[in-house]
Symmetry: C2
Subunit: 459 residues, 2 copies
């Protein structure tokens, strides 16, 4: 075992007071106990949300959440040495002339690695576009895929972007012993609206982004010329050097949960349950960065509490009256790109995207106004959901508001499609509901579908 | 076990005369025997290429290839029922009015799933962008990730695009019993230049592409209106309906290996080795579609035979003379986007991309001509390589042709980064070599790097 062994890992763990110690690989029995402990905690959370844990869609949710969390934090149980060992290959440098290449001094860059990690501030997954450069030395190079695998070990832990970049960079420096390592991460965190503010402010859009970098060896000085070469090879990737988050910034944590408003009393049983999940994953809930995490996660979750629904229901009843008055020329109208947030009831993970509503109206205008439609969308989004049901519920409500001829398309990015074994990063999902004339008239459907703009779901 | 059990799989296997029968899961011992058998076959291939199988970079190549092939064909050992079972959820349809949504008739589309598969015609991996739509019935929907997982089972076999689409579509139809399933695959296969033609024709570029579709239930009729809805939701993805490959086309197989020229005697020991690999994976080398596969794979491989190098070496010697004559104004010049193909010696898998060469010259023109530089790039590409070494070798040869001040950037897509456990689809790699003044002058480097266009490596 070299410098990149569990020393680094153990020091970090000890520093954080985590008790895993040297026991990295859990036995089958321990594995099962951990899973059961997380399941029990998830049941507490579901009950705190006012849900029936025996309802069909939720019955296996605790197990699914436990498996996803274990899988998503497997980096705590992986050793970097196992990955790098045996993947260092001798490559001679340039044979003649002054210069650098091959196994000596020629920059190697692997770009656009898709990763995800869990935010230590709120427990939600965030996406990472990772770029790694290193300058070989000692006439040896590392197998290209190992750069990705090492980054993966550290991303599969509870993280903060800067720490993730620092850990990847120093683990590669220790493991490959190159002239230097540079890491740039483009991180995207789902926006964190709360139930109240979303109804007031429909401009909240998808993602909070941050770019961080870390360097070791010749990259340690961030003014070094070699950074220029590295950044040149990352052009066209939306990396604005000016916007790289300064390490010593006084900015508060990037996680939008830090700004979440106080919203009444929080359920101490739920908070204790989240703390027990942290312990089950091998973390220490008393580590400084994790102190408020259970509370923040519960606050996020409570946005999707079932009984929040009643609150707004009356509003819709009133508006139905307006929709009846209509005459004039019939036509297909649409309200496009209404943002929504929801929580997948199968995995307790957010999905987020846009709703497009088409309707046939004798008036040229939306009889009830875009703002009310947006509120209706949030109304159905803010609970534990599946996208198919959300689409149907929006269509039924829209039908009562806009007349019976309604078509609804929901386009969404599902965190559960990236943050588990499946890891299908670019994928997204569209669901359709048709009511009235739209169900029998393909031309009407086509006309509405054509009006939907591209990339509504793009991060 | 429902209709989507191994019946489908066994029938297919029996039809192909494969002897796996009901024994899908191999025991540890059998697993080890299979791996060793593939390793032995790979050693025969390496020796046939004139390589020393004990050389450092190649020592573990047989094991790496065996593991990658086993992993990449794990679909032969997976059951679709295991995936879909327990992931069907009750969802009611629309409660009022005429229409479709939720668990009854509302289209559900999962888009942009990245997959890879192995081409049954040549054994090289190909990339797949997969889009799946289905119309729920019986008031039940399937967990969204299961669509991806089922597609993955069939992609992890030796495949042809149309068959892959058909198998995914019929497995989902059998497993979910919906009103219908639609599958569209955008497949990209690495181009298959042979050593001879690449030197003659530098217009050969990256990828051979094909779009296929398959439908069942309401999608069985490809003129059905519902196809219009599905395709509308796939707009902006470069799917030109006109270009969907007709199922009953007389076109020969899409795989470029089918058009490869005869190139002398082939090594019967190598061909037998590939046939034994097919058997180890659970396939039948006598299945119709696989009959020529070992020969085609060996022909591809022989492009990268070590001794091909000698053949062209003299050509470069002659040209060096030209490069000396130069005077006038000094400046940084570049030859950009020189395509190359090479074969990763760690995984016996192709990597492919573009070479950019910068040099400082007192003349305003490339003293030896782009064609010769292109030949030099092919010369170094067509062997078992690692990208770092390729970059260094090109730089050293370019230095002797263009004067001592040379900078080389190689940008490549590595099949080994997508077609194994790692599956980092969008990633690509840049390597840099600098010689002479470029190694000390960051401004010269920056000027050359800025001249490199975007997306040279894009598929």
């Amino acid at each position: 075992m070299g410098a990149l062994d569990e020393g680094h890992f153990n020091v970090e763990l000890k520093g954080n007071g985590v008790k895993l110690g040297g026991c990295i690989e859990l036995g089958f029995e321990e594995e099962r106990e951990t899973t059961v402990a997380i399941e029990d905690a998830v049941k507490v959370l579901l009950q705190g949300l006012g849900e029936d844990i025996n309802r069909e869609g939720l019955r296996k949710t605790p197990l699914r959440v436990a498996k996803a969390l274990r899988e998503g934090t497997r980096g705590y149980r992986q050793k970097v040495t196992d990955i790098v060992q045996g993947a260092l290959f001798p490559e001679s440098g340039l044979e003649s002339g002054i210069g650098h290449a091959g196994g000596a001094g020629g920059l190697v860059v692997v770009r656009d690695l898709d990763l995800f990690s869990y935010c230590e501030s709120c427990l939600l997954p965030f996406q990472v576009k990772c770029h790694i450069g290193y300058v070989p030395s000692g006439q040896r190079v590392v197998g290209l895929s190992k750069l990705s695998r090492v980054a993966d070990v550290f991303s599969k832990r509870l993280q903060d972007p800067q720490r993730l970049a620092d850990e990847v960079s120093s683990a590669l420096q220790d493991g490959i012993k190159p002239t230097g390592v540079a890491v740039i991460l483009q991180c995207s965190h789902i926006h964190f609206p709360n139930f109240e503010s979303a109804f007031l402010d429909s401009n909240h859009r998808g993602w909070v982004k941050v770019i961080v970098c870390s360097g070791s060896g010749v990259f340690e000085n961030d003014k070094a010329d070699i950074w220029g070469d590295f950044l040149s090879l990352l052009r066209f990737r939306g990396i604005n050097v000016e916007k790289i988050h300064p390490r010593d910034s006084d900015d508060k944590c990037w996680c939008p949960s830090q700004a979440i408003s106080k919203m009444g009393a929080t359920n101490s049983g739920m908070i204790a349950a989240v703390a027990s999940i942290l312990r089950s994953l091998g973390e220490d809930p008393l580590r400084n960065e994790l102190l408020g995490t259970p509370t923040r996660f519960v606050k996020w979750l409570m946005n999707f509490k079932n009984c929040n629904l009643e609150m707004k229901l009356n509003g819709f009843g009133l508006c139905r009256l307006d929709a009846v008055r209509s005459n004039g020329n019939e036509g297909i109208h649409s309200e496009l790109n209404l943002p929504f947030w929801s929580q997948c009831e199968h995995h307790l993970l957010p999905f987020q995207g846009f709703v497009h509503i088409g309707y046939i109206s004798t008036e040229g205008v939306n009889p009830i106004g875009k703002t009310l439609l947006q509120s209706m969308v949030h109304f159905h989004g803010f609970k534990l959901q599946v996208q198919e049901r959300l689409t149907r519920q929006i269509a039924e409500t829209a039908s009562s508001l806009l007349g019976g001829d309604v078509m609804v398309v929901v386009e969404a990015n599902h965190t559960c499609m990236i943050s588990r074994g499946i890891e299908k990063f670019g994928s997204n999902t569209a669901t359709v509901a048709v009511l009235g004339r739209f169900s029998t008239d393909p031309v009407a459907r086509a006309k509405f579908l054509e009006s939907i703009p591209n990339s509504a779901t793009a991060g």
